[in-house]
Amino acid sequence: MNYDWSWSVFLDPSLDGTRSYLQMLFVGVGWTLTLAACAWTIALLLGSLIGTLRCVSHKPLKFIATVYVEVFRNIPLLVQLFLCYFVLPEFLPSSMSTALKQLPHPWGAFCLAVLAMGCYGAARLAETLRAGIESLPRGQMLAARAMGLTEYQAYRHIILPEAFRIILPPMTSELMGTIKYSSVALTIGLLELTGQARSMADFSFHIFEAFCAATIGYLLINGAVSQGMRMLERHVAVPGLIGAAPKDAV
């Protein structure tokens, strides 16, 4: 085929003249990781709260949490991102939306992408956590209440510590999902890894070298994340469960 392969293209100067294409790809990796880390933090905090509220006995709180999950899980992430980017500023107080617009590029897009991905991730994490809580034997809650703990205390000290340790494997795939989904931010002008590879493909005409590099980048990031989470899993495994490492088994 008449495609001109050249791996040395990565060292050519990119469009901004100062950095090479390889350096631009690393800038993309930086954005991907920053975006995923910030979104994941929001998802973890908000998702833990919502996921717990979905299980509590207080009916109105439970209802609010259910509505949150259904809304954010059933709208495509890209649509949510566009709602954040194009619609939300219209409803914000004008001082806030002006401040958002005056942020240096691409920090405005970054903030809104973190918000959209955080809210979306929270709904998914809440479902994961709920499944974890529901998989615990009912006796755990009953025993905690029988000992005089309030419902809040029971969740805080008994249920959640157990549930979080059980859901680590699905949480790992949610985290990797967040890293992958961060690529949608390219649609609002935040050039993370996929976006940088796309723009390198446009300007250098070395399309497949660029995509190869991005693919390898994602494979490496995923490998590192799953390795790290596996170590964490071993460290916090619940003794006595099938998933627990043998050294913890009593």
Partner: protein, 231 residues
Amino acid sequence: MAAPHFELSAILPSLPYLLKTGLAFTLTLTALAAVMGLALGTLLAMARLSPIKLIAWPAAVYVNVMRSVPLLLVIFWFYFLMPYMGAWVLGASSPVQVGAFKSAVITFTLFEAAYFCEIVRAGIQSVPKGQVAAGMALGMEHGQLMRSVVLPQAFRNMMPALLTRIIMLFQDTSLVYVLSLTDFLGAASKIGQRDGRLPEMYIFVALVYLAICFAASRGTAYLARRHRHSH
């Protein structure tokens, strides 16, 4: 506060276009990718479970690589790769024009197959070993055993997971936006930009997606409950 000219009724004139062109495109893409992806995913799952390393290993690599990269990157990959692949298949000397829709169908099929593979594999592994032993005792061939004993039970077990994945696929097809295709979101964006009504359009799109996916996920949950009770 709210934008001065914000009114949802502004979308009414373009409603036929949004639904007949946009939503129809999204549903067609979802259906094609789901059916073909499931077929390919089932083959991949059987390959991954094969005792022959030379078959199991490439399937595992394919599935794991596909599941590690973002769908957007895969969309770009195939969009640019397809003309070269077309030329290679047809033996042409220059890249062949494939067209964005075909490219999207092939991309989603190949991408979803990796996810379907893992669901099918889990489904096959959920069938008790005794079923296989009983089938073999009756003198069934491997293919016959798969077709009439293992797969029917496996598919029943994995129905909820499959349907959930198809709902995700339905949502993910919105990413063809980056190829400027006129899917539901793409159609709404085009009309919204033309009329200066982007906020109304995006809110409408979100509500329609919400209604469809909510109904579908409720249906899935109902099926899953009924399936559990039947055991």
